[in-house]
Symmetry: C2
DNA sequence: ATTATAATTTAGGCAAATCTAAAAATATGT
DNA sequence: ACATATTTTTAGATTTGCCTAAATTATAAT
């Protein structure tokens, strides 16, 4: 598997998870920030390698081999993110780019020793689950802040948007993984939400509310 | 700089150090395990990028920028080797291949934090010096075992051949970095050498003697 | 000095991954 | 249902890094 192939597999996997159906050429091209013709080419190549099945003009669906491979890359990515944050003092908005490179180093010994060195972590710094050696992981049901209920207290467990901008915004408002958040008020006019963070109260916009994941505590 | 460019720069740097003169196309091709025509192509490309100067049919010589870049890649390689051996339980014959990949991840933050995390090591697991942030490193004069004197006691500080075969051979004879070695006898017939390792005496062949570096203790 | 040999470069081609532009297939609106 | 719009695919070009084979330049030998 080349670097490009691995990145496409990962993108297809994410789109499959997100929309629970075959991945369209356009969606894939957009995810990969490339053109539809390039996506078509790569889909063909991955189909030949039996990583996915593809019916022209319909969607692409990962095969078991393709899904396993994608999960392997995701495992590497998330383990490296933990390493960067816990051992090398990266903040959670800095890890993504470097992890994008580290995830392509294909050595079982490297990944499994790293896993052990980190103490077999189960979640990455964005709250996403880390597959184990066999590719198993448990997905925690995430509640998006936009749909949280007034009066209930939640714990922050992840983000959707992992852009530096968004993560910096969260940092500057002292919101991170594990932060306890109480929903105080939802403003119907613009869908903004007033939160309680300990003694501090802040109001966040709808776009923030759509990108922050919580679970009940 | 692409991956291929970085690898060529490193190879040119090593050949320059080794032979103290301009690097020939053939030597470079051999080092890179490729063909002379490919080496010519890459030399041209690196010359255009001002990483080296090249006079056709004569040799290539790194520019300051080229040398700085090569040293940067070597720094990354050696730091990762330390990480793999000290933190991830790699043995010194296993690190090279993985470090070849890790060395191409270009993030100053990553490398400098790794350096700090490892406690600013100055030598890698093969005894080679690790350049600091500014690219400075001190080269210890290495005495090759083949030229060591009978009756003198030395410390093992490095190897030339970093192949898995050779390193495994050393391991199986309990020779590693820091091992104290006394030269007991040099056999003129086949240039083999009898060594004292603590209470144990072993005889090593000339090919071993040419690849093991020592310093006086 | 001239020829033989070795080293180097050039020429032309290939595969991967991308692009633009055009063609083909599918979906949509009235 | 049929024209129009959208999506997808194909065709052809480009770049990078590599190759083989041929031509060129340098070096060595007599």
């Amino acid at each position: 598997m080349t670097l490009a192939e691995e990145n496409y597999l990962k993108a297809i996997y994410h789109l499959e998870q997100q929309f629970k159906k075959g991945v369209s050429t356009n969606a894939l091209a957009e995810e990969m920030k490339t053109k539809a013709s390039s996506a078509t080419d790569m889909i063909k190549k991955l189909a030949e390698k039996n990583m996915l099945t593809h019916i022209p003009y319909q969607g692409a669906t990962l095969s078991d081999a393709g899904r396993d491979y994608a999960v392997k890359v995701i495992r590497r990515h998330r383990l490296w993110e933990v390493f960067l944050v816990e051992k090398l003092n990266f903040s959670w908005d800095e890890v993504h780019e470097v992890a994008e490179h580290l995830e392509h180093i294909n050595s079982d010994k490297l990944v499994n020793e790293l896993d052990a060195f980190l103490g077999f972590p189960t979640y990455d710094p964005h709250g996403d689950p880390i597959p184990d050696k066999e590719g198993n992981f448990t997905y925690i049901e995430k509640i998006v802040l936009a749909k949280a209920e007034v009066g209930i207290t939640y714990k922050c467990i992840g983000v959707d948007d992992t852009s530096s901008k968004f993560l910096k915004y969260l940092d500057s408002n002292n919101i991170g993984l594990g932060t306890i958040i109480k929903i105080l008020y939802k403003e119907p006019f613009d869908n903004s939400i007033k939160l309680g963070l300990g003694k501090v109260e802040i109001v966040v916009s709808q776009s923030v509310a759509k990108n922050l994941y919580l679970k009940k505590v």
